[in-house]
C-alpha cells in the first residue's frame, strides 16, 4: 500500500465550491466546539475568578468573584507546583528515551530475519497496552512494596535486603518503569510497521555491498523511520507532561509521593480536594502553554531531520 499521495497538488483543486467537506466535518467541529473549545474558554474565564466569602459571619457562603491575575501569580510562585515540573523533568529524562529506545530496539529485532519467537514476543510486548493505567499501577505497586515484591523476595534470599523501589530517588525510575512498561508495546508496533514499509531492495543492496545487520540498522533503518520516531517522541513527551495516573495510584502506598508530586496532581488537588477550581484552571493554562511550547520546540528541531522540505 503506497503511502504517498500520487497526485500533485494542482490536480486536487476543485473547480467549483461544494458544501461536501463542510458537511463531513460538521460532527467533528460540533463536538470540538462543544467539548474542547467551550470548556477551554470557560476554563480561561474561570482562571480569573476566585471563591471568596460574600455573606458575613463565621459560616458565610463562598461565591465566585473576579480576582484578576491572582491565581496565575499563586500558581507561578507556588514552590510545590514548580517543583512538580522539576520532578517531571527527572521522570521524563528516564521515561521518554527508554520507552522510545526499547521500542526501537524491539522493533529492529523483530525486523531481523534471524530472530525466533517473534509472534509471541510481539504479542506479549503489546499486551500492556490493553491494561488500564489504574490496574497497571496497582500491579506494579504489589511488585514494588518490599513485603509483597517478588523481586525483593529474591534479593532477600540472596542476603541483599529489599529493593527500595518506592524511596527517593529510586521512585522516579519506578514510576517511569510503569509508563515504559505500558508504552513500549504500542510504540514498538508503530516503529515496526514503519520498518516493514521500507522497500526490501534497499536492504538487499546494502547486504550485497557487504554491510552487516548492525550497520544496516543504524545507517539505513533508523534514519528511514525518523518520522515515526519523531511522532512517537512527540506523543511520549506530551504524555510525560500529562503524567497523572501512575503516581496517583502509587501515592497511597508510599509517603514519597506527595499530593503535588507532578503538576497534574496539584491541579487535581486544587480542583477537587481544595475545591479551588479557578486556581486549577489557571495552573492548567500554565501547563498547557508549557506543553505547547515544548511541542513546538521539538517539532522545529526535528523538522529538517524528519520531514525534509515539508
Amino acid at each position: 500500500m503506497t503511502t504517498q499521495d500520487l497526485n500533485p497538488p494542482s490536480r486536487r483543486r476543485r473547480r467549483r465550491g461544494t458544501a461536501a467537506p463542510y458537511i463531513f466535518l460538521t460532527p467533528a467541529v460540533l463536538l470540538y466546539v462543544c467539548f474542547l473549545l467551550v470548556p477551554i474558554v470557560y476554563s480561561i474565564y474561570l482562571s480569573f475568578q476566585g471563591l471568596r466569602l460574600v455573606s458575613g459571619g463565621a459560616f458565610g457562603h463562598r461565591q465566585s468573584t473576579f480576582i484578576g491575575l491572582e491565581n496565575y501569580a499563586t500558581a507561578l510562585t507556588d514552590a510545590e507546583f514548580l517543583g512538580g515540573f522539576r520532578r517531571l523533568a527527572i521522570y521524563g529524562i528516564i521515561a521518554v528515551p527508554l520507552t522510545l529506545g526499547l521500542a526501537l530496539l524491539f522493533a529492529l529485532l523483530l525486523d531481523l530475519g534471524s530472530a525466533r519467537a517473534k509472534r509471541f514476543s510481539r504479542t506479549a510486548i503489546f499486551i500492556p497496552y490493553a491494561v488500564p493505567g489504574v490496574v497497571a499501577s496497582l500491579m506494579w505497586g504489589f511488585m514494588y512494596l518490599p513485603a509483597t515484591s517478588p523481586f525483593s523476595y529474591i534479593t532477600e534470599k540472596f542476603g541483599w535486603g529489599t529493593i527500595p523501589f518506592l524511596q527517593n530517588p529510586e521512585i522516579f525510575s519506578s514510576v517511569a518503569n510503569i509508563a515504559i512498561w505500558s508504552g513500549v508495546g504500542f510504540n514498538m508496533i508503530i516503529l515496526y510497521t514503519s520498518l516493514r514499509g521500507i522497500p526490501a531492495y534497499i536492504m538487499d543492496s546494502a547486504r550485497i555491498d557487504g554491510a552487516n545487520e548492525w550497520q544496516i540498522a543504524t545507517q539505513i533503518k533508523i534514519p528511514l523511520v525518523a518520522p515515526a520516531l519523531v511522532l512517537t517522541g512527540l506523543f511520549s513527551l506530551i504524555g510525560c507532561l500529562q503524567l497523572y495516573g501512575e503516581p496517583t495510584t502509587l501515592a497511597p502506598m508510599t509517603s514519597t509521593i506527595t499530593q503535588t508530586w507532578v503538576p497534574l496532581m496539584t491541579i487535581y488537588r486544587d480542583a477537587f480536594t481544595l475545591d479551588d477550581l479557578p486556581l486549577a484552571a489557571a495552573s492548567s493554562v500554565v501547563l498547557a502553554l508549557g506543553t505547547l511550547v515544548v511541542s513546538v520546540i521539538l517539532l522545529r528541531l526535528t523538522q529538517k531531520r524528519a520531514f525534509g522540505d515539508d
Partner: protein, 438 residues
C-alpha cells in the same frame, strides 16, 4: 442540488439527535416528576458509600412506599464530597448524601448542606445525645443527622502481645515502653506504625490531649493547630520514631496488610470501626485481636476523641428537604437501620443503636471478647463532644499530609510540620475572607 439536500438532512439529523439527547438524559437531579402531587411516590436520590447503605435504604423503601429512595455510591469520602460540591454548582446534587463530620463545615460554606433545624422532629432530636448532635450543629443550626461515630479505641494483637509478655498499655507512657519492648523482642515487629497521611487520627489524638484546632466566637475564628497540646503529641510520636520503636508507613497498603497478617504490626490506635477494617484484610487473625480503651496522657482519665464518622446531610438543591430529612432521621435512628449498621461494622450514633450494640455479638475479628460492646458503650460515653472543625479542613488535611510526609522523609521534626500546617490554614482562611485571630 444534491449537496444542498445532503446539507439539510445533516443539519436536521444533528438537531434531532441533540434534541433527543437533551430530553432523554439527566437522571441525577434531585426531586422527581411527582413533586406536588401526593399520588405518585416521591423519589429521592441518596449518595453514600460502604456496605451498610444498600440494606438500610432497602429497609426504608420497604416501610415507606410513598417516599422511595434511590441509593448510589459516588465514591469514598473524599471523592463524594468533592463531587457533591461540583454537583451543587451544576444543579445535579442528590437530595441527601453522607458527609464525614470533618467535611461538614466545608459543605456549609460551599452552600451544599442545608439547614434542617426545622425539619428535625422532637422524636428525632431525642434519638441522639446532645454531644452527638454537637457534631452536626454549627452556629446553632443543625446541618445533618449523625449516622455513625468513631470513638477512638486501641485495637491490638492480643495473642502476640501476650506471647511477648507485653502488658496492654493504659497510658501513653506505658505505650512507649511497650513499643520499645516489642521491638527489642522482635526486631521485625512494631507495636504500631505512624502514617503521615492520617490527618483524622492525629486530630483525634490532639483532641484527646486537649487541643482545639478550630474555635469560633461570634464571627472570629481561632486556629490552634500548633498549640502546645498538639506539639506535645507530635513530639511524643517523634520520640517513638526516633528511637526506632515504631516505624512510619502508610496504612492499609498491601505491604501493611501483609505485615499485619504476619504479626509484624501489633496494634492500631484508631476507632471502634477498626475491627471490621482489619478483618477485611486479615480474616485469618480472627480471635487473636482484642480492643481496649485508648491510652491516656494522665492515668485515670478516660476521655477520647473521635476519628471519622459521618452524618447524612440534606442538600440545598433538594426539592424535598422535609422528606429527605425524615429519611435521614429514620435510617440513622430506627431499629432496622441500627441492625444493619451493627452487622456491617459501623458504630451507630443513635442511642438506640448503641443500646442494641450492647446486646449484639462481638465483631468477627474478636469473637472471644464478649465484653466488646459494653466496653464500646463506655468509651462512646466518654467521647469529647465535637472537635469543632473549621471551614477549610480539606486545606488542613492536604497540607498536613504533605508536610508530615516531608518531615519524615527529611528527618525534620513533626512539630515543624504542624507549624507549617497552621500557617497554610490561616493564610487560606484569610484569603477566602474569614476573620482569623492569631
Amino acid at each position: 442540488m444534491r449537496s444542498k439536500m445532503m446539507a439539510a438532512v445533516t443539519v436536521v439529523a444533528v438537531g434531532a439527535l441533540a434534541l433527543a439527547a437533551c430530553s432523554g438524559g439527566g437522571s441525577t437531579a434531585g426531586g422527581s416528576a411527582g413533586a406536588g402531587t401526593s399520588a405518585a411516590p416521591i423519589t429521592l436520590t441518596y449518595w453514600a458509600w460502604g456496605t451498610a447503605q444498600e440494606p438500610m435504604v432497602a429497609a426504608w423503601n420497604k416501610s415507606h412506599p410513598d417516599i422511595q429512595v434511590k441509593h448510589t455510591d459516588a465514591g469514598g469520602a473524599t471523592d463524594s464530597s468533592a463531587k457533591l460540591l461540583t454537583a451543587t454548582r451544576a444543579g445535579n446534587a442528590p437530595d441527601a448524601s453522607v458527609v464525614e463530620y470533618q467535611t461538614l463545615p466545608a459543605m456549609i460554606v460551599g452552600n451544599a448542606a442545608a439547614d434542617i433545624t426545622k425539619y428535625v422532629s422532637a422524636a428525632a432530636k431525642g434519638s441522639f445525645t446532645n454531644a452527638v448532635w454537637g457534631l452536626v450543629t454549627f452556629n446553632g443550626a443543625i446541618y445533618g443527622v449523625p449516622q455513625d461515630v468513631g470513638p477512638m479505641a486501641f485495637v491490638y494483637n492480643k495473642a502476640r502481645l501476650d506471647a511477648l509478655g507485653v502488658p496492654v498499655p493504659t497510658t501513653w507512657a506505658e505505650f512507649a515502653t511497650a513499643a520499645k519492648k516489642v521491638h527489642i523482642a522482635d526486631p521485625n515487629a512494631y507495636l504500631t506504625t505512624f502514617d503521615p497521611s492520617q490527618f483524622g487520627g492525629f486530630a483525634g489524638l490532639a483532641q484527646q490531649a486537649g487541643a482545639k484546632w478550630w474555635s469560633v466566637k461570634g464571627k472570629t475564628w481561632t486556629v490552634d493547630i500548633d498549640g502546645p497540646e498538639s506539639i506535645a503529641v507530635a513530639n511524643y510520636w517523634q520520640g517513638l520514631l526516633d528511637n526506632g520503636a515504631i516505624k512510619s508507613e502508610p496504612l492499609l497498603t498491601p505491604q501493611w496488610n501483609q505485615e499485619l497478617n504476619n504479626g509484624k504490626i501489633l496494634s492500631w490506635p484508631s476507632a471502634l470501626w477498626a475491627p471490621g477494617v482489619i478483618y477485611g484484610v486479615a480474616p485469618k487473625m480472627a480471635s487473636q485481636w482484642a480492643m481496649a480503651p485508648l491510652p491516656q496522657w494522665t492515668p485515670g482519665d478516660s476521655a477520647v476523641g473521635n476519628q471519622g464518622g459521618s452524618a447524612v446531610v440534606v442538600t440545598t438543591s433538594s426539592k424535598h428537604p422535609k422528606e429527605a430529612a425524615e429519611f435521614a432521621a429514620w435510617i440513622n435512628s430506627s431499629q432496622e437501620g441500627a441492625d444493619v449498621q451493627l452487622t456491617t461494622g459501623q458504630y451507630p450514633a443513635s442511642k438506640l443503636g448503641q443500646a442494641a450494640a450492647e446486646k449484639s455479638a462481638p465483631p468477627k475479628l474478636m469473637p472471644q471478647q464478649t465484653d466488646f460492646w459494653p466496653l464500646a458503650s463506655k468509651i462512646a460515653a466518654n467521647t469529647i463532644p465535637s472537635i469543632n472543625w473549621g471551614p477549610d479542613v480539606n486545606v488542613a488535611s492536604s497540607a498536613f499530609q504533605d508536610a508530615m510526609a516531608k518531615a519524615i522523609a527529611n528527618h525534620t521534626p513533626l512539630s515543624a510540620a504542624l507549624i507549617q500546617v497552621q500557617k497554610v490554614v490561616v493564610a487560606d482562611m484569610k484569603k477566602t475572607g474569614f476573620t482569623v485571630t492569631n
